[in-house]
């Protein structure tokens, strides 16, 4: 009884400051408060426009809500999100999946691009080493993602152009283009889908991971 009173009092107080009662206990109103804070708390600066946080897609919306709740997505929802992302993947226009691993290594090393201090049209990096081990020679790598050292070798790719290699080659392209196609709430950026890397850059990273001549597979 007493508790109810106290709770009610808090709710009235909270409502008075326009925060809403549910916000206090973490209901949908807290979502609204946060959304309003985002609208007024950020501004467009250079190429980094406000819509990057105000108009996020359904994939991000459901994953964000799941993280706040501390629960993974329901299996059916995750499947639907993954299928939608899979459909959006743009496959290589000429059917050629692999480029030059040396250029791929440079793209993997670069963490540049897309911030408000970058200019439009400047070459973006892949940010790969920030999160992944890739070539053995590079010891400064992150651990947010799994190690990709020996990526092709471990998967038995001796000829990336062979029919046997096709499933792995396609999966790898898809994962780089849109990682959410295989894991709805993956931490990995959707590099092709979001326009961070172009088709040619993705080919080069593909070569870094899958070309038997790449240091990754030595």
């Amino acid at each position: 009884m007493k508790k109810t009173h106290a709770k009610l009092a808090v709710c009235i107080l909270a409502a008075a400051v326009a925060a809403g009662c549910a916000a206090v206990i973490g209901g949908p109103d807290a979502d609204q408060v946060a959304a309003d804070m985002v609208k007024t708390g950020f501004r467009s600066e250079g190429i980094a426009k406000i819509d990057r946080v105000t108009t996020i897609d359904e994939t991000l919306k459901v994953c964000n809500a799941a993280d706040v709740a501390g629960k993974p997505l329901e299996a059916a929802l995750a499947k639907r999100i993954e299928e939608a992302n899979l459909k959006s993947i743009k496959w290589p226009s000429d059917g050629k999946f692999l480029g030059d691993w040396k250029q791929g290594e440079q793209i993997a090393q670069s963490g540049r691009g897309q911030t408000w201090t970058d200019t439009a049209g400047s070459a973006n990096g892949g940010n790969c080493y920030n999160c992944h081990q890739i070539a053995k020679e590079e010891i400064s790598f992150g651990t947010i993602g799994p190690s990709l050292y020996n990526y092709g070798k471990i998967r038995g790719i001796s000829d990336p152009n062979s029919a046997a290699a096709k499933p792995i080659v396609e999966y790898t392209w898809g994962k780089i283009w849109n990682a959410k196609a295989y894991n709805a709430c993956s931490n990995m950026p959707r590099s092709g889908h979001m326009g961070n890397l172009n088709e040619q850059q993705v080919r080069h990273i593909m070569a870094l991971l899958l070309d038997p001549a790449s240091p990754v597979n030595k």
Binding site: V10, L13, A14, V17, A19, A23, V24, G26, A30, D31, V33, A34, M37, V38, T40, G41, F42, R43, S44, E45, A48, K49, I50, R52, V53, I56, L60, C63, N64, D67, V68, Q114, T115, W116, T117, N127, Y129, N130, C131, K136, I139, S140, F141, G142, T143, I144, K180, N187, M188, P189, R190, M194, G195, N196
Partner: protein
């Protein structure tokens, strides 16, 4: 002397392979930090902040010595580890920097909105950073204990949690992408898990800090600003409720952790 030690550490790291190599390199960076901590240039900003606090300045020619940072007018010790908190006189949850600017406006007659628009490291904003460094230093070693009694403080925590987990930008990153798990790194930089208590002197408990890499004193507002830049987000407004809410989430999570601010960072 310093250079040779670092060179040796890097050479050693280069010889060893795999995980062992990264540990050596991380240790080398730790040693490097320990050497730097001997003479943390943050001391200079702390001294500057202390003199700014006592100095009669602004259109009203007043000092900040009557500024209420949450523990009563003029009480500096222990204030930092209880911020952000709700202030009845402004009717807002405020962090250290926005509260300092409120005091600069009310006591000294400065224009708060103008200061908030001033770039980091320039004009009065540079003074705000020095003042924040001084105030934080007065709470060094004290445990974080942000109040959560006021409904707005709770609301800010809940909203801050949502901001922390908000994926966005061109890379789908959220704060949690890097700071949501134990024992992760970007390149060789260790990342504290800020969804829970990261421990003494880490994460929220380490800023303001002096950054050796660019020779600047970084306030918490600047630290969060640069996180968002690297997340490829739009620009977070200085002193916005969004940043205060995020700081509330981080600060409440850090409960009991001892402040190391002002720290030194590579």
């Amino acid at each position: 002397m310093r250079t040779s030690k670092i060179a040796l550490a890097i050479a050693l790291a280069g010889v060893a392979a795999g995980v062992a190599a990264q540990k050596s390199a991380t240790q080398a960076i730790d040693e490097y930090r320990a050497m730097l901590a001997d003479g943390n240039p943050a001391d200079l900003f702390e001294a500057k902040g202390e003199s700014l606090w006592k100095q009669k300045r602004g259109p009203k020619s007043a000092s900040l010595e009557a500024c209420d940072l949450g523990k009563g007018p003029g009480v500096v010790k222990g204030a930092f580890v209880e911020l952000p908190r709700y202030f009845a006189d402004t009717g807002k949850v405020q962090d250290l920097e926005t509260r300092l600017i409120t005091c600069m406006e009310r006591l000294q007659g400065f224009n708060a909105a103008e200061i908030a628009k001033t770039p980091f490291g320039k004009g009065e904003m540079a003074n705000v950073t020095a003042l924040a460094t001084f105030v934080a230093a007065e709470s060094k070693g004290l445990p974080f204990n942000l109040p959560q009694a006021h409904p707005q403080e709770k609301t800010f925590y809940e909203a801050g949690k949502r901001l922390f987990f908000m994926r966005g930008g061109t890379h789908d990153f959220s704060c949690a992408t890097c700071h949501g798990e134990d024992g992760k790194r970007i390149r060789l930089q260790d990342l504290p898990n800020l969804t829970k208590n990261p421990g003494d002197g880490v994460g929220f408990a380490a800023w303001p800090a002096y950054r050796v890499s660019n020779g600047q004193m970084w306030s918490m507002q600047l630290r969060l600003n640069d996180c968002y830049r690297q997340q490829r987000f739009p620009y977070p407004e200085f002193g916005s409720d969004a940043l205060t809410a995020l700081s509330t989430y981080l600060g409440v999570n850090a409960k009991g952790a001892k402040s190391a601010a002002p720290a030194i960072k590579r």
